[in-house]
């Protein structure tokens, strides 16, 4: 394979402590190496440009049954945004829910090389992987939804943590999943009967277990299995005024499980979980309280879920929350209950600057990102497509890096929301180094992807080069240049091959799919007969057909972990 040398760029590699130093990066056989000697090497002159590891997105709904239902629900999202076929790329459509190929291309054009799909009903794993196989260039993974799964609830109720761990390990392999995902734990099971849970100590219908026990139980399972990432939690009461209390309780409930100051819980799209007030009229930001807690505790990581004012499609596994959104918007919607595992809801939504609630939500996301001091604890996401489609990341970059950019938008927003917002009092602006943490290094570290998010020797050669000179351009003032540069990467290099040049796809490569392979003692296999029995009783598919074989993945990349059981 060809050798590559990226010369003279300003390198931002926070995991290796490199902060804007001018240096060369050498690539051989898809990996970063000390140096390259070969005469046939290709040289990229990156002088006056920023070199960063390829972007990593910890939470973006890009594939699966739910995403596809969203595509079918919204033809109007597609006919306005059409990508024609080129020599190198396939055609595609979609603004908020782009088709698979377009998703891959658009991420790559922004310099992203790893994207995680955060909500896979285990039953729909096959479909999810089919779509991920068709998502080019980027590496990906998927998180099976386990917080409302009958097996998990039953094991946890009986206190059978080891058996639960065995089931989770089996699920990771059966669905080729990467992370334990909890969405409104307990609430989705109750939603099957038209109910919800009100707080983390409420009792889940038919199971006599509380969300607190589910979160703690799966957190322990996560530790037993030594999973690469922590549990990934979409909190109870998400999207309801006053829910910041629930969010804080969720963070506190696993405080005692923390060891060595390592994170044990990831509270995702935190913006939706940081609402204060009694109802929508008295709605306000709870970002200050959340930030205060996160700043003083090391066991929590979060991501933003930043709102951008645009037309988008909300889609979560949180059926009851989507029902509330449907009642608010009176838009068309899709709802489903996935057998014994989870539920789904999809509602098209438009965030408006003139709306007090939407403007406040916009403010909450940025307040969280700016008030949480350690960039290793909060990552940049939009919970694509819930708060905004991922193509708006460059705008969010500019808001994080420039107070002027924020203030310009504040002038055009709902006055009451601006009056209550904390943003005018916040001076902080992200540096390029902090940005590199929030958009790649931090996310890769949280995901436990050892070869991603940095440019050290041995790392995967996933590199993004942006045409902006940090010595001459002040991001605080020239935020429009920042937006432009981050919208179209000068180069995106995937596994040592140039995939994007000057914002255009020049080569479509196939990315890997990560999944967790748990190595455990034989006792874990003992639950299989029990599972087979349960499949006969409850499932519409046979046990044998449920499992996604490894050869089903276009490029399988198992991450081995050694369980404690």
């Amino acid at each position: 394979m060809a050798e590559l040398l990226i010369k003279n760029g300003f390198v931002y590699d926070p995991l290796n402590g490199i902060n804007g130093e001018r240096m060369d990066i050498a690539v051989k056989d898809g990996k970063i190496v000390e140096k390259v000697k070969g005469r046939g090497k290709k040289v990229i002159d990156a002088s006056g440009m920023i070199v960063m590891p390829g972007g990593v997105d910890i939470h973006s709904h890009i594939a699966g049954a739910k995403v596809n239902a969203g595509r079918m629900l919204r033809p109007e999202d597609h006919f306005k945004d059409v990508e024609a076929k080129t020599d190198k790329t396939r055609s595609g459509v979609g603004h908020s829910i782009p088709s698979t190929f377009t998703t891959g291309y658009r991420y790559a054009k922004m310099g992203y090389t790893t994207v995680m799909d955060p909500a896979m009903p285990p039953l729909k794993a096959r479909h999810t992987h089919e779509e991920l196989n068709d998502t080019p260039i980027i590496d990906k993974g998927s998180y099976p939804l386990l917080g409302d799964c009958w097996f998990v609830l039953e094991f946890l109720k009986k206190g059978m943590i080891k058996e639960c761990a065995a089931y989770v390990a089996w699920t990771m392999e059966a669905t080729r999943g990467y992370v334990i995902k909890l969405v409104n734990p307990g609430g989705l099971e109750a939603w099957g009967f038209g109910r919800n849970v009100r707080n983390i100590d409420d009792v889940v219908l038919n199971f006599d277990i509380s969300p607190r026990e589910i979160i703690q139980g799966l957190c322990k399972v996560n530790q037993l299995l030594h999973m690469p990432h922590t549990i990934h939690v979409h909190t109870n009461n998400l999207g309801k005024p006053g829910n910041y209390v629930t969010t804080l309780e969720t963070m506190k409930c696993v405080e005692h499980l923390a060891n060595n100051g390592n994170p044990v819980i990831h509270v995702t799209h935190c913006q939706f979980s940081a609402f204060k007030g009694d109802d929508w009229r008295t709605f306000e930001s709870g970002a200050e309280e959340i930030a205060k807690y996160v700043n003083t505790h090391s066991h929590v990581t979060t991501d933003m879920g930043q709102v951008v004012f645009t037309d988008t499609t909300t889609m979560t596994a949180d059926g009851p929350f989507q029902y509330i959104l449907y009642q608010l918007s009176h838009n068309k919607w899709v709802n489903s209950d996935v057998e014994t595992e989870t539920s789904t809801g999809i509602v098209p939504f438009r965030y408006k600057r003139s709306s007090f609630v939407h403007a406040t939500q916009w403010s909450i996301g940025l307040e969280l990102a700016l008030l949480i001091e350690d960039p290793w604890k909060i990552y940049m996401t939009t919970d694509h497509p819930n708060a905004a489609p991922f193509i708006y990341y460059p705008k969010i970059v500019s808001w994080l890096m420039s107070r002027a950019a924020r203030e310009k938008l504040l002038k055009k927003m709902n006055k009451r929301a601006v009056h209550k917002s904390l943003l005018p009092t916040i001076d902080r602006e992200y540096t390029f180094n902090e940005l590199a943490i929030a958009t790649r290094a931090g996310q890769a570290k949280a995901l436990g992807l050892k070869n991603k998010g940095h440019l050290g020797v041995g790392a995967d050669a996933d590199i993004a080069i942006y045409n902006i000179n940090p010595q001459t351009v002040d991001p605080s003032k020239k935020y429009k240049l920042i937006r432009k540069a981050f919208k179209h990467a000068a180069y995106t290099i995937k596994d040592g091959q140039i995939a994007v040049k000057d914002g255009e796809i020049v080569r479509s490569v196939q990315g890997k799919t990560f999944w967790v392979k748990v190595k455990a003692s034989r006792s874990l296999r003992e639950i299989v007969p029990k599972l087979k029995e349960a499949f006969e009783d409850y499932y519409t598919v046979q046990y044998e057909n449920y499992i996604v074989p490894e050869h089903y993945l276009a490029v399988s990349s198992p991450v081995q972990v050694k369980a404690e059981v």
């Binding site: 629900l73 919204r74 033809p75 109007e76 999202d77 006919f79």
Partner: protein, 259 residues
Amino acid sequence: MEAECITPDAFAGKDSKEIADLKLWEGNQQRSLGELFDVEGEGADNPKDLSIQIFGDVHKVRRIGASMSSGEIIIHRDAGLHMGEEMKGGKITVSGNADSWTGAMMKNGTIEIKGSAGDYVGAAYRGSIKGMRGGTIIIHGNAGNELGCFMRKGLIKVYGNVGQFAGMHMKNGTIMVLGNSQGRDGAEMTGGKIVIGGNVPAILPTFTFDSIKQKVKTNGEDVAGPFYLFVGDQTEQGDGKLYVSQTSNPNLKFYERYL
């Protein structure tokens, strides 16, 4: 053929040779306008001053006048699908018939069709709730199904008959039909006004009978009745007004019992 390039906006500031070079798709082949049409005449810098006349048969040419903002297009024979979609201003006149999706999602301007039109005139495209948002469509012949679907503003006037579901999902604006309707008018409408001068086989059961009106005011002019006034669609808690001629509809006489 996809001819969204046939608009005064695209022609403005070009001479006939440059206009003949404009590209359009015929199936999967890209062609220039000059290959398919003889282009003659004088150009103008401002689209407002342009009048485009099409003499040939263009019933297979789609999207003529799409998104046009001003000026005029005159088609002397039949026009194709999607004519004047998302039109923002100006005028299109068709001497023959027009096809389906004429004036789909249009925002402003005028479309006049001397013949008949197909289905979904002034409607919203699939999935969208933004139908016609302004302007006027006048059809001297008949129109097909789902006329003015998701209409939000503006006027559609049909001198002939219409198919089923005229004014479906309508939110505001006016639809006036002088001929007969095949029924199910105003299904799921939440507002606006539909006037039908001819016969209607039945009114949807989700409309409530309100009263008999002697005349209706549409766009400033009075239309003499008498009309039965129905309000609905109650499945959407709608407040749409459906006026149906009393004299043409003896089959609806039983409603008078509820007065």
